[in-house]
Symmetry: C2
Amino acid sequence: MGKPLDADGLDTIFRTARSANGYNGDPVSEVDIRAIYDLVKMGPTSANQQAARFVWLLSQEQKDALADYSSGTNAAKIRTAPAAVVIGMDLAFNEQLPWLFPHAPDAKNWFPTEEVRRTHAMRNSSLQGAYFIIAARALGFDVGPMSGFDHDKVDAHFFADQPTVKTNFIATFGHADPATIHDRLPRPEFDQFNRVR
Amino acid sequence: MGKPLDADGLDTIFRTARSANGYNGDPVSEVDIRAIYDLVKMGPTSANQQAARFVWLLSQEQKDALADYSSGTNAAKIRTAPAAVVIGMDLAFNEQLPWLFPHAPDAKNWFPTEEVRRTHAMRNSSLQGAYFIIAARALGFDVGPMSGFDHDKVDAHFFADQPTVKTNFIATFGHADPATIHDRLPRPEFDQFNRVR
């Protein structure tokens, strides 16, 4: 059991954190990205699958490429963000299990069909995508997650040499321009989507 | 931009946090569960889908039922945990979008096939599953996420009256018995699963 977060901490990762649609001029560095990943990789995944594959974009050329494959409203946000990330999932994640889950040498055979591998990769790379959002916020960044883009084109551009990797979702990050934050969308009351038994 | 977390906060949600395999005798209450969900629901989902449906289990009868449908090693953990949760996903999440995403009255028509809805529900309920893990840790709880169970039986028991809801994954939570924590599994070096471009 860790020490519970104080009110500021809960605000930073959940309560007052907001998705960013534009950023101020502060840069993001590779040092920042490595600090984020050092947190992301500690989050739990099924059998330590670590199914996510991250392509971090700092160059204007690569941000522009991602923008070209994204929906209209997303494209402008990507071009002007200090950083973006393509969060992929490796459908052959199980090939890595001999070293990621070494006490079960048979683990790579637990996922015999592509359908099973796709379900696990989707679940676990999404968990890691959420860890990315929370980790970036925990380090003081704002994130703008997006799912409106052409998956085939993004896969072809960013994972051309890794044909087993498919894009899950994408995001921009940096320090938000507060003027770009939308009004908070409605949140459910507990009883709408929860039961206690 | 929120105030960055201090070292204790980063430890609590990522760095020293560990999956629990057993718990001490401390109870979990519905008040605790509502506090966790009040954080979970603030995490971002695509078009505010809020696709996750949570069934929280405090009664021994319901924990035993979930254990009966789970793999051998998981079953004993579920029976003896103070609380468990079934994290489902609603494949008809789009029917809720008129009130969750009110500025786009057409949003419920953006997901025309079950395949598309399943992909979005899986992605977004997994994000919310990760928010649950982090939120519980942020409030001082330990979590034991699991994916080894009979999906059809768990769906039939916990979502019998909600046929569009399918189980994504399950977890126990409470305050860990430190003696049950396993050795940390290997974590990737940055260059194994990341590229900067």
